[in-house]
């Protein structure tokens, strides 16, 4: 069995930051493996550890600077990694879910996986749509927001986490794409041995032509035209001063609101 896991490097923004045109100035940005993808990788590695002959391959769309992040997934037990990037992708600007799915589908066509796991969403742009778009492009079945997974005889029995503490129990025919929700498992830390081994695992680089994709077809229909800090709608009274002072003000407020012990 082969499991393909999509992983992405996401940007986290510092508490204080400056906007530079349509981006946040690099100085205020830290790169990390997308939180939801961490759970997807862990789920795949656990399936591998539970069964015979399971290969876990990760796929990423991103420049070479993301290699270090991708190696985190290898250090946690993925067998090898594929990364796709080229000038056309770089020039496309905001990659919409369809464009990303198109690229990922070309990799999936090469790899021919039985199961594809993605994160529910990425922490930076948060489209939450790439996994299901990918499934439909591949003609695979799918399930979005999966927080429990049981594989048996060509069927994935999943729980989909709905709103308000309700889960939907669904049987999904394989091959399928599942978008994985946090909490489905307990992602491991990479061991020192894992980190060492990750260095020698294969990380293949492709451009669009390698995948038989036409760079001219890569234009994203979405164009980001502004980036700004939203005006705060709220009118919070912010207590100022040392922690003792602000705590005293808050304590007085709470007492006024009738909160006492």
């Amino acid at each position: 069995m082969k499991i393909l896991v999509t992983v992405k490097e996401v940007a986290a923004v510092d508490d204080e930051f400056e906007i530079d045109g349509l981006e946040i100035d690099d100085r205020y940005v830290t790169a990390d493996l997308n939180e939801w993808d961490e759970y997807a990788v862990e789920e795949a590695v656990q399936i591998k550890e539970a069964g015979d002959d399971v290969e876990v391959v990760t796929v990423t769309i991103g420049p070479s600077e993301t290699d270090e992040t991708i190696r985190q997934a290898l250090a946690k037990g993925a067998d090898r990694a594929v990364r796709v990037w080229d000038e056309a992708l770089e020039a496309a600007g905001l990659l919409d879910p369809e464009t990303k799915a198109e690229v990922l589908a070309a990799v999936a066509a090469e790899e021919d996986p039985d199961l594809v796991l993605t994160g529910v969403q990425s922490a930076d742009d948060g489209f939450g749509a790439t996994g299901v778009t990918l499934a439909d492009k591949l003609g695979m079945e799918w399930g979005a927001v999966v927080n429990d997974l049981d594989l048996e005889a060509g069927v994935a029995s999943v729980h989909r986490e709905l709103e308000g503490g309700v889960e939907e129990l669904t049987d999904i025919e394989l091959p399928a794409v599942l978008t994985i929700q946090t909490g489905i498992n307990d992602p491991r830390y990479a061991s020192l041995r894992g980190i060492r081994q990750a260095q020698s695992k294969e990380l293949a680089e492709y451009d669009l032509a390698d995948l038989g994709l036409d760079a001219a077809g890569i234009a994203s229909p979405l164009e980001q035209t502004s980036l700004y800090e939203p005006e705060t709608e709220g009118e919070a009274t912010v207590f100022e001063g040392s922690p003792e002072e602000t705590a005293a003000e808050l304590a007085a407020l709470l007492e006024e609101k009738g909160v006492t012990n």
Binding site: G126, V132, L169, T170, T225, Y228, E229, P230, L250
Partner: protein, 316 residues
């Protein structure tokens, strides 16, 4: 030119976002001209259809297929309906189920998809407003296409309460059963713990800012001093540091205490969905840009490890 909004229901209830979308749809139709259509698929379509007949809606399509949501059925039906109505903008909810079929529909119709929008405008081509980096910044996006698909963030638009005079039309969809490769077996309620956070007057709610499980002691001390109940954001529940039924938010509980103290919680939309109805909201967070301050009534922009013990001390 027209807009088509697809309603959502679960276990016999029309979900609120179905009506909120109509307001977003109305905004678009005001810009675009043309008609506002809405549709309900499955369940008690007659009752739902009547509820969707709100002011400004031109046509309600009812599609009588099955009881509950199934994404294979929805994908087929919405695709057929959109081919029939040919809306300039196809609206769907940015709910868990919306995200389980909207991308497939957009793909089949070959329309760009913009998800989780908090604003739309069609005066000069379609423009959508979205949030990035956990709501720290907002962005506007121009959609370069004649026709698009959009998912609408719940609780961003008001519901239209006035009844309308829409035409209610049954739509005859053809469902290819061989393409239905998923089966919904049922539902399960999460929970089973012994606290009811929805019942508490005062909630001390803790987020990822607490860093380590051991650090929770300062939160328990505060809760004890205030005679309050401890709740939390999702990462603490995912880590197993708090029981599942203490989770506040979209997938957790909706709470409305007199006082909600959010400690080290950024205020992600899915968290806010569960606590914005609290009477008084207090936020303690080092990040002055944290979105929690947008909905807080009172805030302290400082380190919780200093503020929380000092606050506890005041009640000893």
């Amino acid at each position: 030119m027209s807009v088509l909004a697809i309603a959502e229901h679960r276990r016999g209830e029309l979900r609120l976002v179905s009506l909120e979308q109509l307001a977003a749809g109305r905004d678009l139709v005001d810009d675009l001209g043309g008609e506002l259509h809405t549709a309900v698929i499955g369940g008690d379509v007659e009752t739902f259809g009547a509820k969707l007949n709100r002011e400004g809606v031109d046509t309600v399509h009812t599609v009588d297929v099955g009881e509950e949501f199934n994404h294979d059925v929805y994908t087929q039906v919405v695709t057929q309906l959109a081919e029939e109505v040919e809306p300039t903008v196809l609206l769907m909810p940015n709910s868990v189920n919306g995200l389980d079929y909207a991308p497939a529909v957009a793909n089949r119709l070959d329309r760009p998809l913009v998800t989780d929008v908090v604003g739309v405008d069609a005066e000069d081509g379609l423009t959508a407003t979205r949030e990035l980096y956990g709501s720290k910044v907002e962005t506007t996006i121009d959609v370069h296409a004649e026709q698009a698909a959009v998912t609408v963030r719940p609780a961003e638009w008001p519901t239209i309460e006035t009844d309308g005079d829409a035409a209610i039309e049954a739509f005859d969809a053809t469902v290819d059963e061989s393409a239905v490769r998923s089966t919904v077996k049922g539902f399960e309620e999460v929970g089973g713990g012994d606290v009811d956070i929805t019942d508490a007057d005062v909630l001390v709610s803790v987020g990822r800012g607490i860093e380590e499980e051991e650090n929770l002691d300062i939160i328990y001390d505060l809760a004890a001093a205030l005679d309050a109940t401890v709740a939390g954001s999702r990462p603490l529940i995912d880590n197993g540091w708090l029981e599942k039924d203490r989770q506040v938010g979209q997938s957790g509980k909706v709470v409305t205490p007199d006082v909600y103290i959010a400690i080290g919680i950024s205020g992600a939309v899915q968290h806010v969905a569960g606590m914005k109805g609290s009477e008084t909201i207090v936020a303690i967070n080092t990040d002055p840009n944290a979105p929690i301050f947008d909905i807080a009534d009172y805030g302290i922009q400082d380190d919780l490890f200093e503020v929380v013990p000092a606050l506890t001390e005041r009640f000893r």
